[in-house]
Amino acid sequence: MKAHTLSILVENKAGVLSRVAGLFSRRGFNIESLAVGVCEEPNMSRITVVAYGDDAQIEQVKKQLNKLIDIVKVSDITYRDHVDRELALIKVGAETGATRAEIMQIASIFRAKIIDVGTRTVVLEVTGDSEKIDALEKLLPQYGIKELVRTGKIAILRGSKTVKSQKPE
């Protein structure tokens, strides 16, 4: 079992997200993370899914996804040269000036930003690969993580290669 990163180009049609998500759950695959948004093409969206499975299972999921009419392209980019990022917002307890200073110090090491300061909390914004965010997350429980939101991974191929399909004539 290994985490696979799938990049999926879909038509922006009603229900397309539930078609994709439904297919994963129906065939018994757990989605680790899912991120979706508009992309460079009009009326299209790009979905990045991280799912666990062996290569054969992921191959089957890919084939099943490809059968969905609204899905234009599915690419397993796990073994291809790519970069990926995730963004997290973390609300941490900061009751005293001393803890606030400590948190700010940790934030600066991780190139995280403080985007909100309250009387008893601060909110950190951090971007990076999943491991970096995991690492930051591990340092914060001593101050009390009040709330944590992660976007899920998004990924893109390095160089000039893209996840696209030929438009039919």
Partner: protein, 558 residues
């Protein structure tokens, strides 16, 4: 100015639809109003489930798209089992449902259900149409998707206001459909085809394992030609029966759980398995690790997701069975067969034929054999699900593709009778028999109303053992004869038929079988035969679930 409903009916006519199986209701009133003076015929079924099965039976018998129509909410929900049935067996059906007006969508309005959501996992694709202007294009696309690539059901959900809205200048549907996310592969990859031929030529013990894909793509002619040219024995799945005539010397009949012993032995010993339009279903393979354990596997299928899904494949060929087989034939010349292998198979055939205990009682196998004999293996044979289905598959001698219509993948009891109604409209001149059990027939028995109403000459042969026979058989063999809730009290099916105005006849003894079948064949209208068969007759041979397919019980050993 045209209403959405008018655009819908015109679009259906443009797709060549001449018949719709349906059931009216509030949200489809505008569509029914258009049907009132349309040239498209509508058959009023007695249940929406029957409407979708009839559309499915029509599609399987004709090779064209079957169409059904139901209202929103309960009407649409009643279609679900039938849509799932068509999905599992890759049948081109277009299901049209009414929906509450767009302004009420999502408000739990009267007779609202999220039918596109509900049918997501059991349709090839579905649509919720929000504007009347989209209808023509959606209908064109739906038929295209249903009938191309791996066929399957498509649902179109139409809110009531979309059907009543007036459109000033409706855009016509595009002549050709072009979808970025849907481009099926028809021609096989040349190099893979060459590799497959190479393996075929070298094989000492080759066999063809043919399924529903051969029927769907109309590849039976090519299949038989290939088999004859290379002298390859052919075994078919339940869905593939009829791809080669049953009396063809190379035919081994059905394989799998209730297949012939010789087919299962041959697959177990083969060194090359040419799998065409099949999906290595568990009812075929038994324990997958022991299925064709010595074989190189060549798999031809139009759906790439089926290749390597259950069993590793040596030569994958994505493509339409007919196109791929034609390409293979163009590269293959006639040659002598693998005579030792064919001889070995002949010995198996000789020593392990299909057989049953023949006694004084009324045996269901005998009923099927006599029907096959009286119709000379012609006609359209539809089945319900269970023992009746397996006896029909084993003992009817099918000569042609699309002659055998049965719910294989989903195994839907209650499928047969309405599907037989659809089959009749696809092939009106032919004898259509539904082989039923007393359990299955009661799942859609209300369709006696439909066949009486339209004088539809469907014949129903009920193999009545007053049990849910297949479940009882499993209870006998694997649950120590504890017949938990499988016994059914006697039903007088002749009386039920008569009450609907349908003729019927009860048959208690062997001597009465042929005259009774002949009476049904000769009847002008529908006919019900109630065969009171041996109650505890079993379907043999049988591969217990999870066993290897050469480990059959109830075969020649008995």
């Amino acid at each position: 100015m045209k209403t959405g409903a008018k655009i819908l009916i015109e679009s259906l006519a443009k797709e060549g639809v001449d018949i719709i199986f349906g059931y009216p209701g509030g949200s489809v009133l505008p569509i029914y109003d258009e049907l009132y003076d349309s040239s498209i015929r509508h058959i009023l079924m007695r249940h929406e489930q029957a409407a979708v099965h009839a559309a499915d039976g029509y599609a399987r018998a004709s090779g064209r798209v079957g169409v059904c129509l139901a209202t929103s909410g309960p009407g649409a929900c009643n279609l679900v089992t039938g849509i799932a049935t068509a999905y599992m067996d890759s049948v081109p059906v277009v299901a049209i449902t009414g929906q509450v007006p767009t302004s009420m969508l999502g408000n739990d309005a009267f007779q609202e259900s999220d039918i596109t959501g509900i049918t997501l996992p059991v349709t090839k694709h579905n649509y919720l149409v929000k504007h009347a202007g989209e209808l023509a294009g959606v209908v064109r696309e739906a038929f295209f998707i249903a009938k191309t690539g791996r066929n399957g059901p498509v649902l179109i959900d139409i809110p009531k206001d979309v059907n009543t809205d007036l459109i000033a200048d409706p855009a016509p549907a595009p002549e050709t459909v072009s979808l970025r996310g849907y481009q099926p592969t028809y021609r096989g990859h040349t190099r893979q085809i060459e590799r497959a031929i190479d393996l075929l030529m070298k094989a000492e013990r080759p066999i063809i394992y043919a399924g529903g894909g051969v029927i769907a793509s109309g590849a039976s002619g090519e299949l038989v030609e290939l088999a004859e040219r290379l002298m390859l024995p052919v075994t078919a799945t339940l869905m593939g029966l009829g791809c080669i005539p049953c009396n063809h010397p190379l035919n081994l009949g059905m394989l799998g759980m209730h297949g012939t012993e010789y087919a299962n032995y041959a697959v177990t010993e083969c060194d090359l398995l040419l799998a065409i339009g099949v999906r290595f279903d568990d009812r075929v393979t038994g324990k997958i690790e022991t299925f064709a354990p010595h074989a190189k596997v060549v798999h031809i299928d139009v759906d790439p997701a089926e290749i390597g899904k259950n069993k590793p494949v040596d030569v994958p060929i994505v493509g339409d069975a007919k196109a791929v087989l034609a390409d293979m034939l163009a590269r293959i010349r006639k040659r002598d067969g693998p005579s030792q292998w064919l001889h070995k198979i002949d010995v198996w055939k000789e020593n392990h034929p299909l057989r049953y205990r023949e006694g004084d009682g009324l045996h269901p196998q005998y009923v099927i054999q006599q029907l096959s004999d009286l119709l000379n293996g012609e006609g359209v044979i539809v089945s319900e699900v269970g023992q009746n289905q397996m006896w029909a598959a084993q003992y009817y001698c099918f000569r042609h593709p699309r002659q055998w219509i049965s719910s294989g993948g989903l195994g839907t009891m209650g499928y047969g009778f309405p599907a037989a109604i659809g089959a009749h409209f696809a092939r009106p001149g032919e004898q259509v028999f539904d082989i039923a059990g007393d359990g299955s027939i009661q799942m859609n028995i209300q369709e006696l109303g439909t066949v009486a109403h339209y004088t539809i000459p469907v014949r129903i042969a009920i193999l009545n053992n007053m049990y849910l026979g297949m479940v009882r058989q499993w209870q006998e063999l694997f649950y120590d004869r504890r017949y938990s809730y499988t016994e059914l009290p006697a039903v007088d099916f002749v009386k039920i038929a008569n009450a609907y105005g349908v003729e019927g006849m009860r048959v208690d003894s062997r001597d009465e079988v042929r005259p009774a079948l002949q009476a049904a064949i000769d009847a002008e209208g529908p006919f019900v035969l109630d065969f009171r068969i041996e109650r505890e007759e079993n379907v043999f041979p049988m591969v217990p679930a999870g066993a290897a397919i050469n480990e059959m019980i109830g075969g020649h050993q008995q």
